[in-house]
């Protein structure tokens, strides 16, 4: 005969369903929809969604102390291994040539980090602690690995919402950027053509670039060494051409494996009881503010450059000063061509975008240095 205890055991799963777990399953389905149907950052959003779903099933053994998702989290999130390995892959796929052709664009990348600090102030005013505020502000870097790295060190309990916000907003660059660009520029400014550099970047310079950046940034902001070191290691392997197998592996196999582990581990932190708080909503809202302010600051700074240069800089290029490479640059080109089909800004925008990539890492290191963490 089946006794009450057996029935209780059989119904244990159903009995432990909570409203939070149901809501979080819904959230995971929305993320799956965005990844599969809308094609928004599928490589990361799908594993995150799967991790979220698996972690929110009743009594999920996967997030127990010896559960697979917990092991993946301890393996590479707590010690920041995953974001750094992803950075090696990004470095191996990034060509800094457009930035080297026009190095002054690096200042646009600096301006494009203003949102980080403004959001930090807003988050402090709302009531977040300084460490939490800095972690939320770093969403403004529009750089997934940097956001994970910084928030993992400063506020690990907020890693889930910050990562989801960072990657979701990155995938929404083509939707979020154009209205900001049109709002802050006039039609005449959007039609400005920019001249092209006649500078040839030698292989020697391309190889020296990652070394110079690593030594300079690593010496002046040691907190940024892990981030900039890995990004530039990937780029050095690519530009040297000496380790093609390692470059390919970093950009494909290693990056893909790490992304799967990272996504599942981050998704596993989205447990309903911890995730469904007003602070999560605040993080999502502050994240988009950080993004908008970054883009706006970049455009306004490019306007200043335009004024100084006597009308030779198209302010739209400033919007590419964020880190979402090369998506932001493509959006700039698209908006410029809507005004003038013969306006080719892509190379300049790519320069500003590559600058944003470096600047976001530097900003991440500066935030860690100011908060006194991560060294």
């Amino acid at each position: 005969m089946i006794d009450h205890e057996t029935i209780g055991l059989l119904l244990k799963g159903i009995n432990n369903v909570t409203w939070q777990s149901i809501v979080m399953l819904g959230v995971s389905f929305v993320l799956m929809y965005l990844a599969i149907v809308k094609d928004y950052e599928p490589l990361l959003l799908l594993p995150i969604a799967a991790g979220c779903m698996l972690a929110n099933l009743p009594l999920s053994p996967l997030i127990a102390d010896d559960g697979m998702l917990k092991l993946l989290y301890n393996l590479g999130v707590t010690n920041e291994l995953y974001p750094l390995l992803v950075f090696v892959g990004i470095g191996a796929l990034t060509d800094f040539g457009p930035l080297l052709e026009n190095p002054r664009l690096i200042l646009i990348g600096a301006a494009g980090q203003f949102g980080i600090f403004l959001t930090l102030i807003l988050a402090l005013l709302i009531g977040f602690t300084p460490n939490e505020a800095a972690s939320i502000g770093i969403i403004g870097a529009i750089d997934g690995p940097t956001s994970i790295y910084v928030s993992g060190l400063l506020a690990p309990h907020m890693l889930g919402p910050i990562t989801v916000a960072a990657y979701s907003y990155m995938s929404l660059v083509p939707i979020i950027l154009p209205p900001i660009m049109k709002l802050l520029t006039t039609q005449k400014e959007r039609q400005i053509h920019m001249a092209y550099s006649s500078r040839k970047i030698s292989a020697r310079t391309r190889i020296m670039f990652p070394i110079v950046v690593t030594v300079l940034v690593g010496t002046l902001v040691p907190f940024a060494t892990p981030l900039i070191g890995m990004l530039m290691l990937g780029n050095l392997m690519k530009e040297s051409g000496a380790v093609e197998r390692l470059t390919k592996a970093s950009a494909a196999e290693i990056a893909n494996t790490v992304t799967l582990f990272l996504g599942l581990a981050i998704g596993s932190t989205m447990v309903g009881t911890d995730f469904l708080k007003p602070s999560t909503l605040a993080i999502l809202v502050l994240g988009i503010i950080a993004f908008a302010v970054d883009a706006g600051a970049g455009i306004l700074f490019a306007k200043v450059l335009n004024w100084i240069s006597g009308g030779k800089v198209n302010p739209l290029v400033g919007a590419a000063g964020i880190s979402a490479f090369p998506m932001a640059a493509r959006v700039v080109q698209r908006v410029a061509q809507e005004e003038d089909f013969e306006n080719f800004l892509l190379m300049h925008a790519m320069g500003a975008n590559a600058a944003g990539q470096v600047a976001s890492v530097v900003a991440g290191g500066v935030v860690l240095a100011l908060m006194g963490a991560g060294g």
Binding site: A110, P145, T259
Partner: protein, 134 residues
């Protein structure tokens, strides 16, 4: 208020440091480029765009750089497949209309498009064998 003051201090310090660092990097890069100067023939806007597209295409593979990709069918762009399909259907319809008997007005016949056989017959009927002037 204390928080605001601290936040403002962080902003000024943080942005100042980011700008200073990147300005220094800019100066260093200029020095490297000056020492390793290689002139290049001027590039047209179109050439520059094509080069930038090539660079962007490589970076598109990076995680965190995925944009919604255009749909494909067996590796071919979906709009191209659709265009081929429409053209094939059109061609098939035209062949059917041309091959249909004259009296068949229902599908796939047509009163507007006579078959090749009928058209040839009509042409023969309209041709007079009588020499002109008789």
């Amino acid at each position: 208020m204390e928080n605001l003051a601290w936040g403002l201090q962080m902003t000024v310090l943080g942005m100042g440091l980011v700008f200073a660092l990147l300005a220094l990097l800019w100066a260093l890069l200029m020095l490297v480029l000056y020492l390793d100067k290689e002139p290049k023939p001027p590039m047209s806007a179109h050439e520059s765009h094509a080069e930038a597209e090539r660079i962007a295409a490589v970076a598109d593979d990076a995680i965190g750089a995925q944009v919604p990709e255009p749909p494909t069918v067996n590796g071919m762009p979906a709009d191209l497949v659709a265009a081929i399909l429409v053209a094939t259907m059109k061609h098939k319809l035209t062949l059917r209309r041309q091959a249909a008997p004259i009296m068949r007005t229902y599908w796939p016949g047509s009163q507007l498009f006579a078959s090749r056989w009928v058209a040839a017959g009509r042409a023969r009927q309209n041709y007079t064998w009588q020499p002109r002037g008789r």
